[in-house]
Symmetry: C2
Subunit: 112 residues, 2 copies
């Protein structure tokens, strides 16, 4: 999905060449975060998605922490839309640096 014009600036994030495999793997080593990234990859409906779209039954402060961890690792890009932060996956950057990693996330299923 191409970037629509006139978006807010992204929140602080690592540049492409600063992405580190150990950091990205650490940020993804959590079922809730895998679920967030997987839903963004497979069920995307628009460019950026707010927290509420994910339908996660967790306190907002906990969700904010997880989204921030994903952003600081370089997995998602977040933008501030008024009071709301919305996210998308940095698909091109991750494919360039860690080819195939997002396929593993897309194929992941929660433990029974």
């Amino acid at each position: 999905m191409p970037e629509p014009p006139g978006l807010p600036e992204p929140l602080p994030e690592p540049a492409l060449h600063d992405l580190r495999l150990e950091v990205v793997l650490g940020a993804l080593s959590d079922p809730l975060r895998l679920r967030i990234v997987r839903k963004l990859l497979l069920e995307r409906e628009r460019f950026d998605h707010p927290c509420g779209w994910f339908g996660l039954d967790r306190p907002k402060s906990s969700l904010s922490h997880h989204f921030k961890a994903l952003r600081e690792a370089g997995i998602i890009r977040q933008r501030q839309y008024g009071l709301e932060r919305r996210s998308h996956v940095r698909t091109a950057d991750l494919e360039a640096r860690f080819p195939g990693l997002l396929d593993l996330v897309a194929a992941w299923t929660p433990a029974r």
Copy 2:
């Protein structure tokens, strides 16, 4: 490399169908562990390798902890040879469950 006959039994480890992406990624989210797995993938000289082969300048207790974490996540198989534990990567199992993941580990380089 095919498994030579007459090896000791493997130490306890998760079965192929019990490997979990979140656990494997967590176990790999550490530069020392990436270095261990990468060296096993790229510089293998025999079937199983003892701790000393890796040339890691860390206390033995710390190394034991890291090797155990890799085994319990299903990334390496460990066997007890007398007083020594030796390891190899569960390449076929990991390729079957998480195709491409070991390529990312092999391509990893430590941060400068």
